[in-house]
């Protein structure tokens, strides 16, 4: 288990009183009570998408308005109580892992779409609206919200802002930060601040940019103004199978070098191809070492033009097979395996850890070779699936959670992969966030002074370190948390 700061004895001793005070602040409604404190009912909140770590919180509040969030934060600030913001709890890095003395602020009841404005191409939504919920709301009018993390059915826009979530299509459309206009931010003091708005590039410091991806360290976002885009006329995918990962990497380079930026460019290695094929029967060639899924957009004629060029480029790299979807249905079939990749790996292994480092794409062959060597060394299988255009890797390390030694090895293997990512010029996390999972690896990427500087910026927003503490920054070297413990 990862180390968490000691609970504050004063807070633990006042549990009853705190719960009662919170009940006055968050009344609840038709969906149920506003405060959860019974141990059995706290169970669903003790972990998130990184289920290896568990810790029940002091209490959970489920506010239905920005005012209630502000009231809870004001109270917690006045009483020195730590808070953990939570959306759908899909974080893969433990971003919503509670602390024993913390109040979890769950935003799932703030799930209203407040406004859609097609002339200005924006939507104003509460933080608990799901990512896909935005697209579903505007799809009938031909619009969509671009970032599309794999968890988009469940994950919430407030969490997307906090993690700066990406997805398979960010090579063309960018990540969350590139698709935001404004947020309503509640500070730890309970002040409600509007950042950005309905316009681009507000003058002054780029607070919106700093908040995006800040993992709940600086405040809680309760309302979000996102840009919505008109969907392209259509899209189609092709599948290219290669004899080696190195040559597939060269094909990726050649595609980008040709001036074509596909809307998606996904890479799967042999173990992943096999797992996905067994699961989804997508028709992936089982003799391939690497597979690219390439998607283009536009009219049917534009798709044909781009796919012809892509086919011609891939053909230069001695492919095992090239398959261009002729219809939308065939595209869906090509994507079926990729979209089910995590589930497919889950079927062949009782548990897996999903890593998320990014590397310069030129380092791909070297990094995949090293991951293969580590896999043999640790005796744990790994399947690689990732966004090839932007170098964001997702190695899935398979292990058995019932075997503590297996879990320990998986964690060490994962850490070695991330260290390798940094060593070749990349970073620890491309889109999942640091959370608790990668917290203690931050020293690999940043110097002590750089971490101190980042902590001081957090301190400017949250001087008492009450907001999602014990995440992002190593506990060592952190006077704020040591003092609090």
């Amino acid at each position: 288990m990862i180390r968490l700061p000691d609970p504050k004895p004063g807070v633990m001793a006042r549990r009853e009183e705190i719960v009662a005070a919170l009940r006055d602040l968050v009344r609840g409604g038709p969906l149920g009570e506003g405060v959860i404190s019974a141990p059995r009912e706290l169970k669903p909140y003790e972990t998130d998408g990184l289920s290896a770590y568990r810790q029940p919180p002091l209490a959970v509040v489920l506010p239905t308005s920005t005012e209630e969030v502000a009231a809870v934060l004001r109270y917690c600030h006045q009483n020195g109580i730590r808070v953990i913001p939570r959306g759908a709890g899909t974080s893969l890095s433990g971003g919503a892992l509670p602390l024993a003395d913390a109040v979890v602020i769950g935003l799932m009841r703030m799930n209203r779409i407040l406004e859609v404005d097609y002339d200005n191409r924006l939507a104003v939504v509460e933080a608990g609206v799901t990512n896909l919920g935005i697209t579903n709301h505007v799809a009938a009018d031909g619009f969509f919200y671009a970032p599309d993390p794999s968890s988009q059915l469940a994950c919430m826009i407030g969490g997307n802002v906090m993690m700066n979530s990406g997805g398979a299509h960010c090579l063309k459309y960018g990540v969350t930060a590139n698709n935001l206009l404004g947020v309503k931010l509640v500070t730890i003091e309970g002040e409600v601040i509007g950042l950005g708005g309905r316009h681009l590039d507000a003058a002054g410091y780029d607070w919106l940019g700093l908040i995006t991806g800040s993992e709940g360290q600086l405040g809680i976002v309760t309302e979000v103004t996102v840009r919505i885009l008109r969907a392209a006329e259509g899209q189609r995918a092709m599948l290219a199978a290669f004899k080696g990962t190195e040559i597939a990497g060269q094909a990726v380079d050649a595609i980008i070098g040709s001036g074509i930026i596909p809307v998606a460019l996904e890479f799967m290695d042999r173990p992943c191809i096999h797992a996905c094929e067994a699961f989804a029967h997508a028709g992936y060639p089982l003799d391939a070492e690497a597979l690219l899924i390439i998607e283009v957009e536009g009219s049917v004629e534009e798709q044909d033009m781009l796919l012809d060029r892509l086919k011609e480029i891939c053909a230069r790299f001695d492919p095992i097979s090239l398959k261009v979807a002729q219809t939308a249905e065939e595209s869906v079939a090509i994507w079926k395996g990729r979209k089910g990749a995590f589930g497919a790996v889950g079927r062949i292994s009782p548990d897996y850890l999903c890593m998320d480092g990014t590397i310069p794409t030129g380092e791909l062959p070297h990094v995949l070779r090293r991951i293969g060597e580590m896999s043999a060394q640790y005796g744990l299988q790994v399947a690689n699936v990732f966004h090839a255009g932007d170098g964001n890797l997702h190695p899935l390390i398979m292990f058995d959670a019932n075997d503590p030694e297996s879990f320990r090895k998986a964690e060490a293997f994962g850490a070695d992969i991330l260290k390798l990512c940094v060593e070749v010029g990349g970073c620890l996390t491309g889109e999942h966030g640091v959370g608790v999972e990668k917290r203690d690896l931050m020293g690999v990427q940043f110097t002590r002074d750089e971490l101190r500087l980042q902590r001081s910026i957090k301190g400017a927003f949250d001087p008492d370190w009450l907001l999602n503490p014990a995440k992002v920054f190593p506990l060592e070297d952190n006077p704020a948390l040591q003092r609090a413990a």
């Binding site: 316009h199 008109r230 990014t358 932007d390 620890l428 910026i457 400017a460």
Partner: protein, 407 residues
Amino acid sequence: MNGEVLAPAREEDLAAAIAAAHAAGEPLAIEGNGTKRALLRPVQAARTLSTRALSGITLYHPQELILSARAGTPLPEIEAALAERGQHLIAEPPTLAALFGVAPPGAPTPGIRPPTLGGLVATNLSGPRRITGGAMRDHVMGIRAVTGTGEVFRSGGRVLKNVTGLDLAKLLTGAHGTLGVITEVTLKVLPAPAASGTLALRVASLEAGVRALSAGLGSSYGVSGAALLPQGTQVGAEGRPGPLALLRIEDFSESVAYRLGRLREDLAALGEVSVVEQEESRALWAAVREAAPLGAADEEAVWRVSVQPTAGPGVVAAAGLGKALLDWGGGLVWLAGPATPETHAKVVAAAAAAGGSFTLFRAPEPLRAAVAVLPEEPAALAAIGARVKTVLDPKGILNPGRMRAGS
């Protein structure tokens, strides 16, 4: 320019210079080549620290869509390196050399230094492609910078997707050198489109023009520029009378031809339509990027107002100035008029009424020293901002007075 100019050629020397200034409590004006000195407020500092000697591209991997360069690298050097590999800067940043009076419109003048990469990032200025391609700050993947105490730090990196730690690169982008001195920048770049074409619609009013721009931006055709030239403004020597709504498509030539055709059909009812192709289209957008159609006279003040696109025409009307130019689908409103506190107050009120943001972009020194050139921040945010400033520049020696009086 502010007094003596320090221009160290190495990052450690620049850091040492800042550390010494910090120790002495001596303010520094921070600049690259000083092309945007007339932007925002005049800096109160006896000495200038320039990044211009920290120059050169340090890494360029076209296949990885990544370019790193030291802060003082001249923009034309970067653009030339990118062009050689068929790539470009996504945000289409303006030089604004003519607007700031550091170079006449057109060809560069010998002896006049071009804008630097660091200056561009510190001011977060983006051109017409911002509306769909993102702002300058969206393409800053990483920075190296020096704090106001002389401490060197990095944020971000040299990869396209990175959420590791707090994004201090975003904080410094657009901070006008007040939170740190940027020494090196890593940018995301993209293939330059093979072709450019523009649909020009003569429309009855600014409101009708923004409706046309909204229809274009709300189409499936990937419009990459949407500007509106009001009545009386002219573009190019031959002169095109406005109001004129402009919608640009950039892509492979087959796509540009196809999409312009479809757009033309879809928008035919909204105004009289003509098509501007290739070089003429590129020249047109270069002019929009530099705010040339605004036609600001030397003695006039220039404002840049950002609002939701449909509010753009209302801002023009409320400001009541003769000169305007709308970009970003109507959401970026350039205004020019008399450099008086009264005119400024009108523009500020117009921006506030539209729920937007303003910048007094250029003005004679007495005006820009006397009024708030940027909107006030709410008290809670200003308090956080003051604490952030204390972390990064505790003695307030970096560009004091640049963004706000007394800070």
